[in-house]
Each structure stands twice: as C-alpha cells, then as structure tokens.
Symmetry: C2
Amino acid sequence: MMSKHIALKNIRINDPFWNDVSELVRQEVIPYQYEALYDRVDGAEKSYCIENFVKASAVVSALKSGEEVPVYPVDKWQYTDDNCDENAFHGWVFQDSDAYKWLEAVGYSLSNHFDPELKKKADGIIDIICSAQLDNGYLDTLYIINDRSRVFTNLRDYHELYCFGHLAEGAVSYFNSTGDRRLLDAACRFADLICDTFGENKKRGYGGHEIAELALVKLYETTGEKKYLETAEFFVNERGKKPYYFDVEQGRETTCDAYHYNQAHRPVRQQKEAVGHAVRAVYLYSGMADVARYCDDKELYTSCNNLWNNIEKRKLYITGGIGSTVDGEAFTFDYDLPNDLAYSETCASIGLIFFARRMAELEVKSNFADVAERALYNTVLSGMSEDGKSFFYVNPLEVNPEASRRDSRKFHIKPVRQKWFACACCPPNLARLISSVGEYAFGENSDTFFVHQYIGADVQSKLGEIKLKSSYTSDGGVKIEVKPNSKMKLALRIPSWCSGYELSHDYSLKDGYAYVDVDGEAVITARFDVKPRLVRCSNRVRANAGKVAVMRGPFVYCAESVDNGDNLQMLVLDKTTRFSQQGEFLIVDGWREKPSDELYSDFAETEKERCKIKLHPYYRWGNRGENEMQIYLRYE
Amino acid sequence: MMSKHIALKNIRINDPFWNDVSELVRQEVIPYQYEALYDRVDGAEKSYCIENFVKASAVVSALKSGEEVPVYPVDKWQYTDDNCDENAFHGWVFQDSDAYKWLEAVGYSLSNHFDPELKKKADGIIDIICSAQLDNGYLDTLYIINDRSRVFTNLRDYHELYCFGHLAEGAVSYFNSTGDRRLLDAACRFADLICDTFGENKKRGYGGHEIAELALVKLYETTGEKKYLETAEFFVNERGKKPYYFDVEQGRETTCDAYHYNQAHRPVRQQKEAVGHAVRAVYLYSGMADVARYCDDKELYTSCNNLWNNIEKRKLYITGGIGSTVDGEAFTFDYDLPNDLAYSETCASIGLIFFARRMAELEVKSNFADVAERALYNTVLSGMSEDGKSFFYVNPLEVNPEASRRDSRKFHIKPVRQKWFACACCPPNLARLISSVGEYAFGENSDTFFVHQYIGADVQSKLGEIKLKSSYTSDGGVKIEVKPNSKMKLALRIPSWCSGYELSHDYSLKDGYAYVDVDGEAVITARFDVKPRLVRCSNRVRANAGKVAVMRGPFVYCAESVDNGDNLQMLVLDKTTRFSQQGEFLIVDGWREKPSDELYSDFAETEKERCKIKLHPYYRWGNRGENEMQIYLRYE
C-alpha cells in the first residue's frame, strides 16, 4: 500500500517534546549558522561560504563585462590560506552546500513559525547566490571562481552534483514555505544544464557524493518537469556500470570493486549490501526509492528493499546509527557494530530517516518508521547539545575520554560536543531535519491517514483535519481528533518496542499499523506501554554478547560516569530489576564490581556490591562535561 | 641481589620442547632467511640486503681508487624501483640489519650445533659486509651508496645507529661462538667512529630507533673498551633533553611531547610510563638497564623499574604481548588492552624478554622471568608457524577473518601467518631469540645459580656443572643434577601461575625464588602443578570484563573456530568445569548459544546448549587455515 507524506505547509507542530527541540533549532542553531556562513563566529573555523559566493558573483560580473578572469587550480578537497591564492575559492569543495542547507532549514522553519527578520536574512543570501550563477545556469563557486573550463571533470571528488542537490532541496523548501521562486528558478536553471549535460548519448557521469538523484525528484515533484525525473533515473541506472565513469574521468582503469566508497562498484540493481560512506549510501538509496516510485520500477524497488533489509537487520546500531568505521565514514560488514569505535554520523542517521520515509511511502510497513524513530530519538537528537550550541558529528555507543585523547583510533570519538566543524555537514543537516520533522510523521493516500511518528500537530490532510495531541515521549499517550471529509481510515503505527497498548476504537492490524475506520468526527486515543525494558542485541554482534541495553519508549538509555563513577565496565545490571524514574533518569538495581588490581590472577568471582545504576537518555548524554558513557551493560 | 646470565657457549640445550623449536629455526628459518637476504625466495618481496652491501662495496673500491662516485637522494624510508635509480640503495633504510640479525642467529645456532656449511655461508656474507666498510669505519649501505656527505644527519628516521646496533650484536654473537674477529673488528671500527662523533662537546644526537645503547654495552662486555659503555651512557642520558636533538637536526621546533613515538619526549629519568613504538621502547629500556648496571646508576635503575612496572602491571597482554595499537606500533594507555585490535608485535615481546633479563640481572625477582616466560611461550612462539615457514608480525588475541578482510582498522591482523615481510624484522628476531634462548634461562652470581626458565640443558657455571632435565611444558617436572665446585645455592623460580609445587630439598623463598643449599653433588627435583586453570584479567581492562581466559603452565589457550564452529563469541565457559586433555588440546565444558537472528529484541536469556569447548595453545593457533580465534571467553 503506497502513501505520500504530508507537505509541511499543512502541518502545524504542537508537541511538548518537539516544540522545545524545534525552538532550539529556530532560536539557536539557525541564527548561529547564519553567522557561521558569514565567518562571524569567534573561534570557529572559517566556512568561507558566503565569501565564495561573493567572489563568484564578481567573476560572473567580470565575465559579463568581458574582463579577463584569472584561473586557479582545482586539485584538492580543501582550499586554505596555506595552499591557495587569497582570491581563489576557499574552504571545502562542498562549502556552497552550507548555505543551501541553511536555506532549506529556514524554509521549513518559516513554514512552522513565520519570522520576517529571518526571511530578510535568507533573501539576502539568496540574492548573493543568484548573482553568482553563470548565464548557462551553472552554479558552483569552486569552479566559477577557480576554473570555468573544468566544470564536470571530476564528478567523483569535487561535489558539484552534491552542491546542486542541496541547492535544489533548499530551493524547494524555500519556495514551498514562502512562494518565493528566485532560488527555485536558479535551481531549475542549473538542473536544466545538468539535464542537457548528462544522459544517454551525453556525458554518462553521476555524482561521487549522491544527493542529486533525490533532489531532482523533488524538483520534478515541485515543477512537474519530467526531464528532472528522467535525469534522476539516468543517474541511478548509470551508477556502477562498466567501464566505471570515475575511471573514465580519471583516465585510468581500476580493478573490481574500486568504488565501494561511492556505491559505484556495481550497478545499483545488483547491490544487495549497504557499503561505503554511510551518508552517501542512504542518500543514494533514497533517490533510488524515489525513482522506483515515480517510474514504477519493481526491480529497483527490490534493490531498495534488499539494501534496507541489510541495514535494518545487520548494520544498524540500537541508536539508529549507521556506519561502523571512521575509515571512509563507512559501513563495514554484517553484524560488525563496535560500540567504542562506531562512526554513527549524525548525518547518516538523518539520511536513514530520508530513506525510511521513502520506503514507507512505497509500502506502508511499520519497520520503516520504527527505524526512523530509533534514529530520530537517539542518534539525531544526540547530535545537538541541550543548549543547541554544540554538536556531535560522531555518535559512539561507548566512550572513554582517555581513549579519545590517547588512542589515535578514537580521536574521532569526542567525549563532548563541539562548537562547529570545518566540514559543517551535521549541524545544518540537523537543523533541516528537525525543522521538517512533520514531513516524517504523517502520510496519506486515497483513503487512509497514516501516523508514523506520534508528534503532536494539527494536520490538514486531503482526507480531513487531524489534530494529534501527544504525550508519547513521556507516557506513551496519544489523542487524535479527526474531522474527516468523508469516510476514511486512520492508521496508527504500533511501535515495534511496544509489548502492550490500548486503543479506544476497534482496529485491524496490518503490517504493524492499527487501522481504525472513521465515519465522522471522532476522538481516538491510544496508549503505548512505555515502561522501561531490557533489550537484547543479537549474539551475532560480537561486541554485545552477554550484555543488555535499556530502553524506554523510543529512547535508548546509557550510563554516564558523572552519575555512576568511572570505569563503567565494572557495572553489572540486575536482570530481575525494577526500574524507577527520577526526572529524566532511570534508576535500576545492579552491582558495582570492586576494581581488581592485579592485571592477571587466578580466577575468582570479582567482589561486587549492590548499587543503583543511574541511566540517562542517550540523546542527553555528554551535556555535563567530559565523562565516560556506555549503553550496553553486563547483566546477571 | 644481582646476577648475570650464563654465556651461550656454556649452555648445551637439551629439552624435549625446545629441541624441536630450535631445530625448526636451524633447519628452516635460518636457511630460508639466507635465501631471502640474496633475494632468491620466489614470491617474497625483495630484501635487497646483500645487493646493497655489494653496491656499497663497489663504492668503497671506487673511492679508494679515486673514481667519482654518484650521489642519490636520501629522503625516504623505503627505496623501490619506482622511486629511485637502479644503482642507488634499495629497500628499507634498515635493510642492512637483516644480515646482521641473521648472523647473530647463526652465531647462536653454531654455538649449540656446529655446522660447517652454515659457517661458510656466514663467512661469505661477512666478507661482503667487511668490504663495504668505509676507511673511517662507517658502515651503513644507505649512506655509503647514496650520499657519503650526509651520514648522521637524520638520526630520527634513517636508522644508522639502529643498523650499527644489530651489526654489533651480530658481531658479538659470531665472535663468541666461532672466535672469528672479522665482524667484531668491523663493529668496533664503526663503534669507534660513533664514539668519536657523539658525546659531550660533540654531536649530541641519539638514534630514533634505539638499540645502539644495549649493543654498545655488549661490545664493552666483549672487548672491555670503556668508551663503548660511555657512549651508551651518553645516548641514554642525552635522550629527550631540550632542545630536542631531533628538532635540531630537522631544523624546526616542536611543542612538548613531539617524540613519544621515539621515547625522546623527555629525559629518560623522568619517564614513568612506557610510550610510543613498543619495540623501540623495550630496546631502550634494555639499554638503560645495562647502563644502570655497569655505571651503578641507582636513579636510572629506578626509572627502569618504573617503566617495567608500568608495562607489567598495566600494559601487558596475557600472552606477553605489548603494544595496543597499529598506529605507530605503539603503547596506548594504562589498561587499554583490546583483544581484536592488539598490535602485540612478535619483536616487541622479544624486546620485552631482553628487558626482563636485564632487570632480573639487576635484582633477582621472579616477576621479571615470569613476564619473559609469558612472552616466550605465547607471543614469541606464536610468531612462527609449526613448519617454520611463515610468520606473524602481529599477534592478536581475537581474530575474525572477515574483519581482517573488510575492516580497514584490522587489515594488520592476519588470520594466517605470512611467508615473509618486506619489513622483515620479526622472523630474524625470532631466529636470534630462539637460538639464544639459553641466555634467558640461567644466571649466576658469586654463590648462586639461578634457573629462570625451566629449559633442559647442560650448563657450565662458574659454580659448577648443572644438568637440567625438564618436562616442564608437559607435566611441570624438572630434575636438576648439580656438581658444584664448592658450596653453592640453587635458586629456582616459582612460576607466578603455580598454585602448588613440590621440591625434593629444603628451600627458603625470596622474591619468588626457592633457594636450595647445595653442598656437594646433588639431584634436585621439582614439580610445578600445571593443571589447567581459569585466569581473570583485571576488570580495569574494558575488553575483558566478565570474561575468563584459560592457561596451563605457561601456555595461554584459545578457541579456534575450526574446532568450535564459527561465532566464537557465542561460546560460554562453565566456570565449574573440569578440564580434560586431548593431545595438545584442552577440553572444557560450556555452552554454545543459539544465534539470535533478530538484531534487537526484548530481553530473554539466549537459548543455549551444552557443548565441549576445545582449546588450543595460543602459540599453535592459525596453523590449520584461516579461522576465528578467541582467548577470552564469557563464563557462567
């Protein structure tokens, strides 16, 4: 059964949990990032983002007036004062996307909470962006500033199609919330150039960092322009064919499977295992699912399903994180989910939510929204500090600050969130996801309204008005007032973690959703049992054999040493325990082992004493200074 | 109480366990390495070792006849056909040391088993080496071939003093067993040049890869030449002083602690923690102990003790391995002993045995020989396959072959031994250690003969004749026939792992040794209880909390999947178990969990069935094809 998410303009979020989070994004993250785009944040690494657009705009003017424009090398991922001319492009090759992601977040935010000051700021940035576009529609400041003659010559590394994708996503968001077409027109002009450049009997390339695929589909959805969908389809189908396009453009030949990192090692229809850079992977899979939907491509859908299953059943952290290694920020192999070495990038979980929504739209089955929920309430929210001012790029499941300082394998594991990153993908990605969370919560088709995530909101569906009040995150309660236009069904996801629930109305269960027939105005209530529970990870995962995790509702819990003392590995949870709640903490019975000082000794049961173990929601960890953290605990 | 090891020429090994091992070295490893030095091993990476000596010899001749000699760059660690002229030096900067280590092993081997053919081969190599020495005594083929003007200009990276150290060790070994002075004279001439070059009011440098320190002391012991000891002392004392010599020679200034990798981050007397490259570290500490002994330097001894304690109590794997990370092949921090990411280089455990002997000579306490035993019977022996034809460089405590193939963090973890390494340090190091194992087994001082390791041998001590018959590795039995010159004491180490033992004679215990007074000819027997036992690792080691290891006598045991099926993490050992022996295997009761297919599920005890767990001595693992291996097991 297919469905489609509800557009954000038809959703007004009103939820005790999410109001706070999205206000933090609106009041802290978006303004902070605005300053960062202009390099006005003290102590943060420079982004050069707006500076590059201004430089590109000058190049465009100069070209128009026939002036000679200098050429600089395009030969690396990062351009700094140390390695390039001061007038050349600066920053990472993908730096333009910072502005686009910010504009996308602003679009969503304005749609939920109109703010004329913010719109003015955004309009100013859009002016600068539009003035940097070449006459032929090309818009990527790296090549415009440094070397116009070399556009589209290194698709593998230099992120032009990636920046285009974020431009298109930003443009669609901004257009949808404000009706302002300027950025959308710019995106369409660039898209037109891309469609003219790539395809059968044209350049056979595709982006090294995927996103253009799903972005072109968004442009197609917004404008109805068929060629955008066709080019998305082309990118998807061309990827991984031999001879490898990346070989062709690099002028060399590689052996088999050279491009796992880019998911371009074989045609996507032959891919069954999620591999390579995790963010790239889920962006690609999202685009594949989009193309499968609009092109009614069953084979492609099967591929999406295979890849989804591989992630969901074998490569997913309990926190909804993906990516088990820092090397290539990548997937490794089935059931390889190390806690202390996880990469689990915030952006990757965001991309997983994109993929999940598209899968759920293709076929409404609750496992998609279950996984999205896992990612949303744990890894995504963990990405941001409680004051909205610092961020995790990497979301480990176990942290020892000493290891982060002294073991080079764990330098990427930060025990506290950081202010800003030179490679600033996660904070803007967080901002856009949280500002558009409604798009992931609800769906509809010709006769059914779907509640995928229990987020309080007033929703204008084609089927009628739906008012959802939620205390889901605190007590599992939901109340839904429905004013249907005519007969309709309300489909409520039964969370996979939920062992007991009550629904006020009769329902039938299908694929994890409870379907309630609604004939006229109705108030439907549901309550999901959110009592804390022990969760077992498959013993195929070596790191977790003999251990247990604690969850409550959608939240994973963790122990922090600020609450439990150092050496969290000495804690043992009493599996017969009863949990009690203490504010945001869970208290469980357990033991604390006494440290055994001899490195090796004859076996004896380690002495231990009863203790209360205090657990914190994972997404809240690391907000009280540097300390140890651990999700999985031994039990007895 | 000080002591000194017994020189190899006074020891004739005759031991059921060690005869086999040293015969393997004599019959397989030494001949194989001889061929490797000449690049005559099919499929092995070229060593270029003899080729470089031949080239250097031609340079020496050319210089003598006043011919012009070309200059090539000295600017990298490895010189290949791809990055240098065919007439230039080839291979790694330390390639000369391959020949020296081989000669050292040959020296030891000839002393235990004279073989004229082997001596002839060694003499041939010594001819080539001697012909490559410059008139001033300098002998390092990299600089002789490539650029004579730049000798001693990059002590940090280019291993001249390291190669010198191995030359001296090889020379001493060869001289001691054959009486042939040629290599010793060459080493002394080079040592003279070094002593003239380095010191107070001279160049204030020291080697980036330590070994010259202990090697100079060996030359001093062999020749009585005091300046060798003085220069060793200078190298030890100068190391880590500010301004850093490595900064001076590189012409730059680094911030604090730039040279942890080289143990040159601070003066050695201020070093309390073992850091950096593990092999370099223990070579340095060995040299420090030598200097402390001969210079009666109490402060330096205290430093050695601190560093020893840090390793023994906090940085030592149960297998006697050291070095927890591949990055820099280095120590990390206290109690960081990951099983599946261990580096635990064979050479590092060999170096640890060097350090242990020197510490035991400074003060006879059993923990030194205990650690040496742990290293010897586990990591060192594990370094070589049962046919002597392939080798482990890295000795992990847990291996999943899929991880070694697919997780770049574990590419250094090989599930089967390899034929030969381009950086061929471990096999020749193994050969020299095993061929000289007697030097680590016995010691003496004015009134006591010490048995540190129970290796069967006929020993000519200053105190008399000692004939040791050992079945230690199989049943813990030892029989020692003593023919003393006059009254003496026999000191027998009580292994730390031994909970019960019997001794035929009265004894008094001191620092882990049982002292028996011997008045005349006597036969002393001892039996150490080698029943299999469970060993607990301190719960400060995160990787091993809740797990147990199995040992029998000095041997650590491990599970391999060829015996126990895949997914060794699903094994649970029954802690009430009785062990039974089956050939070289131990059989213990336990359970095998059924695989839980759901990645996450509500907690339930994992179903499991009784099974027999089959354990293999660690040093024997990986001899039956690629398979999983695990030392620590969960228990119930």
